[in-house]
Subunit: 256 residues, 2 copies
């Protein structure tokens, strides 16, 4: 049903057009929480909650990329995809994106040990992120690759986020947005590869619809994470027991 | 039952002693096929069959390592393990071990395209190797790490194999044994890390027995591959339909 509106997807161009339409509608750049985040309308505790929960997503990305590699018999594809692991985990002297994300958290006043303990993460964040890892682990390789295609739309969100955070919040420094600056180069390279891959390998209408569905699924994963943040930390829907509480954790858990 | 003889495994030292005993008894260096291979007693077609089938094992190693990474929440462990993917697949300018293995196959007169097609691989090789990948994918992380511990015994087999192949076969050149020379450095580094890991993390008798069982399983995987080769290509047990046949594939499938 959801897919009917994207039509027959008779060829790669129609598929790409559908993917761009899905992103234009469903990518989480349009989520109200991001609007607030990018325009300086959140309190520091709310920005902390965002960074903390988003850490859980970051922490699982190398696992989902490794899940893809583990099912991939094509060495050329593995060699391309391996770069994602290097980007996130780093190797040798390269620290990787997760360390940059932890630095953002620390800059926001969160204790990195607390962040990495995953204690304060919203359960809904875990449910959404874990579903993504499982999707990549269990679906076809084509769908797994396709689920990465939200990166097609990432540069725009980072272009908006970097000045938005720097202008909107006195407690955000240039060093803290290093993660996003790096993603400006990394995401288009990865997305370009993944897009070319699905254009080539989704060679039936059925497969092209599966690709579109995978992107929709992934947009849902990202969107659900912001819904959970928005609900708990902005709209007053209640912070689940055990999850990060900006007010009372300020003393005990937030670094000086 | 199998484990009873290794005793209580009351601490890490007892575990390590048991692992070394398992290797001393069960590592495939002791397999008759390897004795023949390393002492110049095989015909060229039999060496080809070994290299061809062993390619399938090589081709799956990055997948099993990625399977481990995909389930590993510990970034420090992922960063260590990631090096194995680099060693086998390579990245950027580094070609990786699989390319070196294909060069060995080519040097032996096999068409690399035929090797990579996996057409000629013995079904028993696939059953054994696929079981290894699944083991790493499905068992505990500790058992997955432990299953790599055959590398503790790899330097000895390579030290035996390199001069054995060079002396035993006029058609083996120095360039063709490059894979094994590289493994002389890589395997002890990896095995040292994995041994330290299981010594630290197998902190109950039950876990230490699981580690021992994992190593036994892995020895069985390696051993079964040689049994299949020995059966089909040495003892005349019959080559399964579709599998590599040294005699009739010499013209059509083997490179000039």
């Amino acid at each position: 049903v959801t897919n009917a509106r994207y039509g027959a997807l008779a060829d790669a161009d129609q598929l790409e057009a559908a993917l761009r339409e899905i992103g234009a509608e469903r990518y989480h750049i349009h989520h109200p929480f991001h609007r607030l985040l990018h325009t300086g309308q959140l309190a520091k505790g709310q920005v902390q909650a965002w960074a903390l929960n988003r850490y859980y997503y970051q922490s699982r990305i190398p696992m989902k990329d490794a899940a893809l590699l583990s099912r991939c018999e094509d060495r050329a594809l593995r060699r391309e995809w391996l770069v994602r692991l290097l980007d996130h985990d780093g190797v040798g002297d390269q620290e990787g994106g997760i360390v940059r994300w932890l630095r953002l958290c620390q800059g926001l006043g969160l204790d990195p040990a607390y962040v990495q303990s995953e204690e304060g993460i919203l359960p809904a964040t875990k449910f959404a992120v874990d579903a993504y890892v499982r999707f990549v682990r269990e679906r076809t390789l084509l769908e797994a690759v396709a689920s990465s295609l939200t990166e097609l739309f990432a540069p725009k969100i980072h272009e908006e986020r970097i000045p938005g955070l720097l202008k909107g919040y006195s407690f955000v420094s240039e060093e803290m947005v290093a993660y996003f600056r790096r993603r400006l180069d990394q995401a288009p390279r990865d997305a370009g590869f993944a897009l070319a891959y699905v254009r080539e390998h989704a060679d039936t209408s059925e497969k092209r619809h599966a690709v579109a569905r995978a992107l929709i699924f992934k947009c849902d994963v990202l969107w659900a994470q912001l819904d959970a943040l928005h609900h708990a930390y902005v709209l007053g829907g209640g912070i689940p027991i055990g999850a990060f509480r900006p007010q009372d954790s300020g003393a005990g858990r937030v670094a000086a």
